[in-house]
């Protein structure tokens, strides 16, 4: 399974919750599969989906799911200690780990080599870290939502992309629509 297949599978689960999605193909794929006012698409800024998701989770009670990539988390590793030490039980971070920088042409990341993001998250102090296969992602996400505990999911999948259009929606429209969805 590749990232877009995981997104297709989890889209029905995501639609009930606030979602922050990582720059590039993850946002574009999610936008194509199931555009929702509850989706915040990052059109810029590598690596900050988990930080935005944590900030959002800490100030309001709705459940927040940040969809990140292995390359993005590697670029903002400082996020994991901050998450570990500021527990928000309405926050779930899914790292779709395809071992590559998918949006830039599938160059390998260290997460596909010796480095384990799940082990890093645990070492940073994150208490509920689950590494699962791509096929298990949907069940794992459901379990994490039901647990009402902050959870980091590392979903291991194959690298590879499908052709998707860029998002042409304006950023202010994305964030205005999202902020209204947070309030209602």
């Amino acid at each position: 399974m590749i990232r877009s297949e995981i997104l297709y599978e989890i889209a029905p689960i995501l639609s009930d919750h606030l979602v922050i999605s990582n720059i590039g193909l993850p946002s574009q794929e999610l936008h194509l599969i199931d555009d929702q006012p509850t989706n915040f698409y990052m059109l810029g800024t590598m690596g900050l989906a988990s930080s935005i998701g944590l900030g959002l989770s800490l100030v309001q009670e709705k459940k927040v799911i940040a969809i990140d990539g292995d390359g993005a988390v590697l670029s903002n590793l400082g996020t994991l200690p901050t998450i570990a030490n500021n527990v928000a039980n309405n926050f779930i971070l899914i790292i779709i780990d395809n071992g590559s920088y998918g949006s830039t042409g599938d160059q390998p990341t260290y997460a596909g080599k010796k480095t384990s993001l799940a082990a890093i998250a645990k070492a940073c102090g994150c208490e509920n870290v689950i590494e699962c296969s791509a096929e298990q992602t949907s069940e794992t996400l459901k379990g994490a939502l039901a647990s009402n505990r902050m959870t980091i999911i590392v979903a291991k999948c194959e690298s590879g992309n499908v052709k998707v259009p860029v998002i042409t929606m304006d950023t202010v429209a994305i964030r205005d629509r999202f902020m209204n969805a947070v309030k209602t």
Partner: protein, 165 residues
């Protein structure tokens, strides 16, 4: 009243309830003061661009946020400021320790100080320079301005301003 107390009083009077910080010697007192205020959730971050992400998240959740940082970090923050804070039109007060000005004992700090205002200017970030203690009188108005215009706004606080605090 110390300037540290005043900064926090003004943040709270302007409904700022979420502050992230990376420490600086000059900012030690203000960071200590945050911890005494129940109205504010203080979340130390490991790098300033991460902090800008945290603040963006809090803003999306309907809360006013702010970052406290050193001017040496403007370089690592530029992409986040431009492609997140500015691109999505989000307000962000940045209370910045302006190292490398008169009274600076560390030569290296001057290397970044000479770029600080040029970078902020280039980024079209409204910038206020606190040099004398009474400059803090403008802080409340600066916060109101920031939340009115939905922009990142920089408050540079130099060693002369912090003298005695």
């Amino acid at each position: 009243m110390s300037v540290n107390t005043r900064f926090l009083d003004d943040f709270i009077a302007n409904d700022v309830s979420f502050i992230t910080s990376v420490p600086c010697k000059q900012l030690a007192g203000v960071i200590e003061e945050i911890e005494t205020r129940e109205e504010i959730y203080h979340i130390p971050c490991n790098k300033e661009d991460e902090g800008i992400g945290l603040c963006a998240g809090a803003f999306l959740g309907g809360k006013r946020s702010a970052i406290i940082m050193q001017n040496t970090a403007i370089g690592v923050s530029i992409n986040a400021l431009v492609t997140l804070t500015q691109f999505y039109r989000m307000p962000l007060p940045m209370l910045i320790s302006y190292r490398g000005e008169l009274g600076e004992p560390v030569a290296c700090q001057v290397e970044m100080a000479i770029h600080t205002k040029a970078l902020l200017d280039r980024l079209l970030i409204p910038t206020y320079h606190f040099h004398k203690e009474e400059d803090i009188e403008e802080f409340d108005a600066i916060l109101k301005h920031t939340f009115m215009c939905n922009k990142p706004v920089a408050i540079l606080t130099d060693a002369s301003f912090w003298k005695g605090n």
